[in-house]
């Protein structure tokens, strides 16, 4: 951009504004109404454009999740995870259209909504933008929550079981938690602050993954007889790395799109810079931590760190100043490295790090609102470091705890039920040969010589 160029443009812009002001000052009534209607339309149009662009970006995160998850597992299961990833978005679109949206945003009680099945009988606009645009944005979020789980349960989960699961989480579980926080439910009424979904999306997805992977048990060969973890290395770091870039890119839509409105753009600017800074410090902090602890700067961990920073800033992105975003992201990056180690000590096998990234950092981000949030930035109460009033922090803690509890119980029941009926895990033989051949009868890389004994 050329500085002098933009100045000229701006000068022109401001001049017309001045002229307008002048004209209005000397103006009359009748015309003004027409004028007003038009401005309002344009303002709504602008917000719609913004939210739709956000929705597209959030949709694109599905590709990011797919590439990260596929890249971090072995080649013999790549088609399987991609199919899951692909179909859960399809299922989420359907489930969230039929039931989910009504449960989440329909009028109802503090626990859930009870109106708007198939989007029927609703107002044509919602939150100041067309209902359909609002739905698409929300549906993309719902898909994200569903797909997080695929990573944690990768390389051994039965495909039909996954389809059933993904319909249930997107049609029932996610919308209920969403209703509490964004749909006018009980947490929302308490002033719980989760701007773009550290709790609604990531805590839900992350803890569903934790329950799922615990019930499934570790992959064959992941832990030796002595309990020591073995490496089942991801088959394509470039793919995973592309996925992380796509996720970061999409996250701008995820967070900044959550303003729903644009007005003069100052909030979306704040959200965008916070998102970026937290991702950056998350990546750096994770790299330094892993470097210090294991002697090498592991790319897969640095990338997980950036995602951790992004998850952590998701709740507070509109409530905090940029310097706080730096801190929140960095702590997220540290958490993720220690979280991966911690799970390995518990022998909980989470192939792509879904639990540390989305679960742990989702909770961290939610709490961070209660620490760094500012009431001047539209939050109910200021956080701990501003005056030390623990109200907001308490609300955040409560909301996070209840959500974790609800997800663990509800998803635990769902997974157990699926296990009893269609079965949650593939046979040992199928797992050894790979789910691509077992479940889909195809190979991810036909013709490539892939030689691995794990």
């Amino acid at each position: 951009m050329a500085k002098q160029r933009s100045k000229s443009i701006l000068r022109a812009g401001w001049m017309s504004v001045v002229v307008v002001l002048f004209l209005l000052v000397t103006t009359t009534v009748a015309s003004a109404e027409e004028e007003a209607v038009t401005v309002e339309q344009v303002a709504q149009g602008l917000s719609t454009v913004w939210v739709l662009v956000g929705a597209f970006l959030v949709f694109f995160m599905q590709a990011g999740f797919g590439m990260v998850e596929a890249g971090f597992i072995r080649a013999k299961n790549a088609c399987n995870i991609l199919t899951k990833n692909f179909l859960d978005f399809c299922m989420a679109s359907l489930g969230f259209f039929i039931i989910g949206y009504g449960l989440m945003f329909g009028d109802g009680n503090g626990f859930m909504g009870l109106k708007g099945w198939f989007l029927l009988g609703l107002e044509p606009t919602m939150a100041g933008i067309p209902l359909y645009a609002f739905w698409l944005f929300q549906a993309a979020f719902c898909g994200a929550a569903a797909t997080i789980v695929a990573g944690g349960m990768a390389e051994r989960m039965n495909f039909p079981a996954y389809l059933i699961y993904s319909f249930i989480i997107s049609a029932l579980i996610y919308p209920i938690v969403g209703h509490w926080i964004w749909g006018g439910g009980w947490l929302s009424k308490m002033g719980f602050g989760d701007f773009a979904g550290s709790t609604v999306v990531h805590t839900v997805g992350g803890f569903a993954a934790l329950v799922g992977t615990s019930i499934l048990k570790p992959r064959e060969g992941k832990y030796g007889v002595d309990g020591k973890p073995n490496v089942l290395a991801g088959h394509s770091i470039p793919l995973a790395s592309l996925g992380v870039f796509i996720l970061w890119f999409g996250w701008f839509g995820f967070n900044a799109g959550s303003t729903l409105g644009v007005t003069d753009g100052s909030t979306i600017g704040l959200v965008a810079i916070n998102t970026n800074l937290a991702a950056a410090t998350g990546g750096i902090a994770a790299m330094l931590t892993v470097w210090k602890r294991f002697g090498k700067p592991d790319l897969s961990m640095a990338m997980n760190g950036a995602l951790a920073g992004l998850v952590a800033i998701t709740a507070p992105c509109a409530y905090v100043d940029p310097w706080a975003a730096l801190v929140i992201g960095a702590i997220g990056g540290y958490i993720v490295v220690r979280g991966v180690e911690f799970l390995d000590r518990l022998r909980i096998d989470d192939p792509v790090g879904a639990v540390p990234v989305h679960g742990m950092c989702g909770v961290w981000g939610t709490l961070a609102v209660g620490i760094f949030g500012k009431s001047s930035l539209w939050l109910a109460h200021s956080g701990l470091i501003y005056g030390g009033n623990p109200t907001q922090f308490g609300i955040q803690m409560l909301g996070s705890l209840v959500t974790v509890g609800f997800v663990v119980l509800a998803m635990g029941a769902v997974f157990k039920l699926i296990d009893k009926t269609v079965g949650l895990r593939v046979s040992r033989e199928e797992e050894l040969r790979g789910l691509d051949i077992g479940e889909h009868g195809m190979e991810a890389y036909a013709g490539f010589q892939i030689f691995t004994t794990s």
């Binding site: 050894l432 051949i437 009868g441 195809m442 190979e443 010589q449 030689f451 691995t452 004994t453």
Partner: protein
């Protein structure tokens, strides 16, 4: 000296390696191969066309040993690789008249280990 060639199931490689180490056979070379044997293949389908995959993935191990290690090595391979099922694999033993260590130029029995 003998050159032992063994075809085994890929996921048995670790067990075979461990068994060989116990038998004090520490050197070997490994490649991947496609095998066509008594074991049935499996069906894949791609875009609506079914086809049988009858070349199955195998691991090929090559071990050069002195005469007195031959039986031990064979035993170890069998022990590590046997499942009792079709597809377990096969071992071939060839005569190996000469062996040279590149680093030192040593030949014969000395060079092999």
């Amino acid at each position: 000296m003998k050159l032992i060639i063994a075809y085994i199931q890929p996921h048995k490689l670790n067990d075979v390696k461990q068994a060989l180490f116990k038998a004090e056979v520490h050197k070997m070379s490994v490649t991947n191969a496609l095998g066509c044997g008594a074991q049935q293949g499996y069906e894949e389908s791609y875009r609506g066309i079914k086809f049988e995959v009858n070349l199955l993935k195998k691991v090929r191990i090559e071990i050069a040993v002195n005469q007195d290690f031959v039986e031990r090595a064979i035993e170890a391979i069998i022990q590590g690789a046997r499942n009792g099922q079709i597809g377990d694999g096969k071992i071939f033993v060839l005569d190996l008249p000469e062996c040279i260590r590149i680093r030192t130029g040593e030949r014969g029995n000395e060079a092999i280990g």
